[in-house]
C-alpha cells in the first residue's frame, strides 16, 4: 500500500530548542507525493516548509532541531529508521535538493566543475575522464557552456549559479527533487528562465518534485498537486485544477485574495488580518483561528481533522465537517 506513493509523510513533528522556548516548526504534518508528480508546498515565512524539507533529508541543524514524531516513507521504507550510512546512499542519488539562495549554496573555493563531479563521484563512480565528461554534459544540460567548468562560483551571476545547483542536483538522476524556493532570490526575468529550465528538466529526467514556494503563480506554472501549509501543518491539499477552481480553507482563500490581480481592476486587496502565529506559542486548536473570518467556538478547542471535499482534495477545517456529515 505504501508503494503507491513515492513519498509518504505521516504525522511529522519537528521541534527546535532555542533560548526562547520550543519552536513548533512542523506539527502533525501529513503529505503524499506520487511517482512523477510535482507537488507545490505553499506557505508564508515560518510556516515550516524548509524545516519539512530538511526533515525529509535529515539535515536538520543539530542539536537544536529534532524530529519528535512521525514517519517518512520513501519508496515504502521509513527514512527515519535509516542509519547515517544508509541515508548517505539515498541523499544525492535518490533524493536531491536545490536551495533557496544560489549565492550561498555553492562552495566559493571550489570550481563549479569540481562541485558537480563530487556528486557524480559519490554515487556513480567511474574513471576520472568519465566523471568529467558527465559533469560537462550536466553543465550543458542546464545551459552553461562546458568550458566554464573550471571557473569559480563568484564568476557566475545569480541565475547561472542556480543553474549550476540544478545541474548538481540532477547529475545522478534522482527520483525526488526538493526545490526550496529556487527562484525567490532571482530577478523576475531570470526567474522565468530558471522556472522554464526546471519545467523542461523534470520532464526530461522524469523526476518527482516538491516545489517549496510562497508564490501561487509559480505553483500554477509547474505543479500538479498543491499542499498549503500554515503553522507547521498542511491545511489543504488538492490537485492544482481543483484548488485553483475552488479553494476551501479560509487561509487559502485569503492567500489568493492577497495577490494583486493583473487582469482586473481592484481598488483594495482583500487581506487576511493579523500575523502568522508565533511558533514558540502556537494557538490552540486550529492555528489559523485567531485570523479566521469564519471562526467558530470549536476552532480554538480542537484541531480539525481531515475533510474530503473532492477527489484528491481535502481540507482541515470545521467549516466543511458538517457538510461532509450531511
Amino acid at each position: 500500500m505504501a508503494e503507491k506513493h513515492l513519498l509518504e509523510i505521516k504525522n511529522l513533528t519537528i521541534h527546535y530548542q532555542t533560548d526562547y522556548g520550543t519552536v513548533h516548526a512542523v506539527e502533525g504534518f501529513n503529505l503524499e507525493v506520487g511517482n512523477g508528480e510535482t507537488l507545490g508546498l505553499v506557505g508564508e515565512t515560518g510556516a515550516g516548509k524548509t524545516t519539512t524539507a530538511f526533515g525529509i533529508m535529515q539535515l536538520l541543524p543539530e542539536p537544536a532541531g529534532k524530529v519528535v514524531a512521525g514517519e517518512i516513507y520513501f519508496r515504502g521504507e521509513n527514512l527515519l529508521g535509516k542509519s547515517k550510512t544508509e541515508m548517505k546512499k539515498i541523499l544525492g542519488k535518490q533524493i536531491a535538493m536545490i536551495f533557496q539562495d544560489p549565492m550561498t549554496s555553492l562552495n566559493p573555493v571550489m570550481t563549479v566543475g569540481a562541485q558537480i563531479e563530487e556528486m557524480i563521484k559519490l554515487h556513480e563512480p567511474g574513471t576520472k575522464e568519465e566523471i568529467k565528461e558527465k559533469a560537462k554534459k550536466m553543465l550543458e544540460v542546464v545551459g552553461i557552456p562546458a568550458v566554464r567548468q573550471d571557473e569559480y562560483p563568484h564568476q557566475f551571476s545569480g541565475g547561472m549559479k542556480q543553474r549550476v545547483v540544478i545541474a548538481i542536483a540532477l547529475s545522478c538522476n534522482p527520483m525526488l527533487l526538493i526545490a526550496d524556493e529556487p527562484t525567490t532570490a532571482l530577478d523576475v526575468t531570470i526567474q522565468a528562465q530558471v522556472l522554464d529550465l526546471m519545467k523542461k528538466l523534470k520532464d526530461d529526467f522524469k523526476t518527482s518534485m516538491i516545489m517549496i514556494t510562497h508564490d501561487l503563480g509559480v505553483v500554477a506554472e509547474i505543479c500538479d498537486k498543491v499542499a498549503i501549509m500554515y503553522g507547521g501543518k498542511v491545511v489543504e491539499y488538492a490537485t492544482k485544477e481543483s484548488l485553483y477552481t475552488k479553494p476551501y480553507h479560509p487561509y487559502t482563500v485569503g492567500l489568493f485574495n492577497s495577490i494583486p490581480d493583473l487582469d482586473s481592476e481592484q481598488d483594495r486587496l482583500n487581506v487576511i488580518d493579523g500575523l502568522p502565529p508565533d511558533p514558540t506559542d502556537m494557538p490552540s486548536g486550529c492555528s489559523f483561528h485567531p485570523r479566521c473570518p469564519h471562526k467558530m467556538p470549536i476552532c480554538s478547542q480542537k484541531s480539525p481533522s481531515k475533510v474530503v471535499v473532492g477527489s484528491e482534495h481535502h481540507v482541515y477545517c470545521y467549516l466543511y465537517e458538517q457538510e461532509g456529515a450531511l
Partner: protein, 321 residues
C-alpha cells in the same frame, strides 16, 4: 489638477569603480503630478533605487535637474535643502536596517520632529507621535518597543510613520513591500493607498516587479540599465506593452490562475554590466527584434502615442529577426 509636483530632467549619476564608470542613472526624465503615484520598475542593478536617492539628494547627482514645484533642488544650499526635506521623505526596503536598533518606536518616529524642531512642548510632540502611530495602524502599547521586538510588517509601519512625521507632500517608497510575505505585503499596500487618499500624498513607488505596482500606480516607468525605456499609464502597460523589455518583464510574472499560461517570452542571458555600457540601445543584445542600428544609436524616450512614452526605434513595428 495636473500640477507637476516633481520633475526630473536628464538626471545622471555615475559611480567610480575599480573596473570603470558605473552608469547607475543615465539620463532619466519623468514628472509626477500631485496626488499621483508613479511606479518605477526594474530588475536589480537598473538604477531605480539610486534614482530615488538622487531625487532626495541623499546621493549627489552628477548632472541634470530635479524640479520640486518648479525649483531645482539640486542647486539648493544646505540650509535651504534642510527646509525642503520636510516636503519629501523616503520609506526604505529593508525593515531590518531601516530602523535604529537602539531607539524605541516612539523615539524613531520623533526623530524628524526633533531635528526640525517642529514642536515646542513635549506634550505636543507626544500627541503627534500618538496620532502617527494610530494612523499607520500600530497599537499604542508598541511605543516603547524596540525594532527587534517587532515583525517585518510592523517595522515597515514604523518606517512609514517616521516618513509621515513632517507632513511631506511627496514620498519615495523604495521597495517598501518586497521583503515581506504576501499577506503582509497586501496589508502594507492597502495602508499606503489609504494614506495617499487621506493625506493627498504623491508617491514614487519603486519595485522590482510589475505585479506589485499595478495595484497602486497611476503611471508606470520601466527602467533598464540606468534609463527609462517605457513610461505609460498603468492600464496600457499591462494590456499593451510597447517595449520588448516590458513585454518580457510582464510575461515573466507567474500568474496564479489556471489556463492563462501564455507563450512565455524568455530573455536570453543576464542583464549586462552597467559599467561602461556600450553605445546604442542598452537592451539590444538581449532583444529578439534588434537590428543593426539598435547597436549604434541610443533610442530616445519619445511620446509615441498620447501619454505613452517609449525608447525603441521600432515601436509598433517589431518583427522578429
Amino acid at each position: 489638477m495636473n500640477e507637476k509636483i516633481i520633475e526630473v530632467k536628464e538626471l545622471k549619476k555615475h559611480f567610480k569603480t575599480k573596473s570603470g564608470m558605473l552608469h547607475a542613472v543615465d539620463g532619466v526624465n519623468f514628472f509626477i503630478n500631485r496626488g499621483e503615484t508613479l511606479g518605477l520598475v526594474g530588475e536589480s542593478g537598473c538604477g531605480k533605487s539610486t534614482t530615488g536617492r538622487v531625487l532626495l539628494r541623499l546621493i549627489q547627482a552628477n548632472s541634470g535637474e530635479v524640479l520640486f514645484h518648479n525649483e531645482n533642488i539640486l542647486e539648493y544650499s544646505k540650509p535651504d535643502m534642510k527646509k525642503m526635506r520636510k516636503n519629501m521623505q523616503i520609506v526604505f526596503q529593508d525593515p531590518y536596517s531601516c530602523l535604529n536598533p537602539r531607539l524605541t518606536v516612539s523615539e524613531i518616529i520623533a526623530e524628524p520632529l526633533i531635528i526640525n524642531k517642529v514642536y515646542k512642548t513635549k506634550d505636543e510632540l507626544e500627541t503627534r507621535i500618538d496620532e502617527l502611530i494610530g494612523r499607520v495602524g500600530l497599537s499604542e502599547r508598541l511605543k516603547t518597543s524596540y525594532p527587534h521586538e517587532l515583525d517585518g510588517g510592523r517595522r515597515q509601519r514604523v518606517g512609514i510613520a517616521r516618513a509621515l512625521a513632517l507632513n511631506p507632500e511627496f514620498l519615495v517608497l523604495d521597495e517598501p513591500v518586497s521583503a515581506l510575505d504576501v499577506c503582509i505585503q497586501a496589508q502594507i499596500l492597502n495602508l499606503l493607498k489609504d494614506l495617499q487618499k487621506e493625506l493627498g500624498l504623491t508617491y514614487l513607488f519603486i519595485a522590482h516587479n510589475l505585479s506589485v505596482v499595478k495595484h497602486i500606480s497611476d503611471r508606470i516607468a520601466v527602467m533598464y540599465l540606468g534609463q527609462i525605456i517605457e513610461l505609460t499609464d498603468y492600464k496600457s502597460i499591462f494590456k499593451d506593452p510597447l517595449h520588448p523589455y516590458t513585454q518580457a518583464l510582464l510575461s515573466a510574472i507567474p500568474i496564479p490562475k489556471l489556463g492563462v499560461q501564455k507563450e512565455r517570452l524568455i530573455l536570453r542571458g543576464d542583464v549586462p554590466s552597467p559599467i561602461n555600457p556600450a553605445e546604442g540601445c542598452r537592451f539590444a543584445g538581449r532583444c529578439d527584434y534588434s537590428k543593426q542600428n539598435c547597436f549604434e544609436e541610443t533610442p530616445k524616450l519619445i511620446e509615441s502615442e498620447p501619454g505613452r512614452w517609449v525608447a525603441c526605434h521600432y515601436v509598433r513595428q517589431l518583427e522578429q529577426n
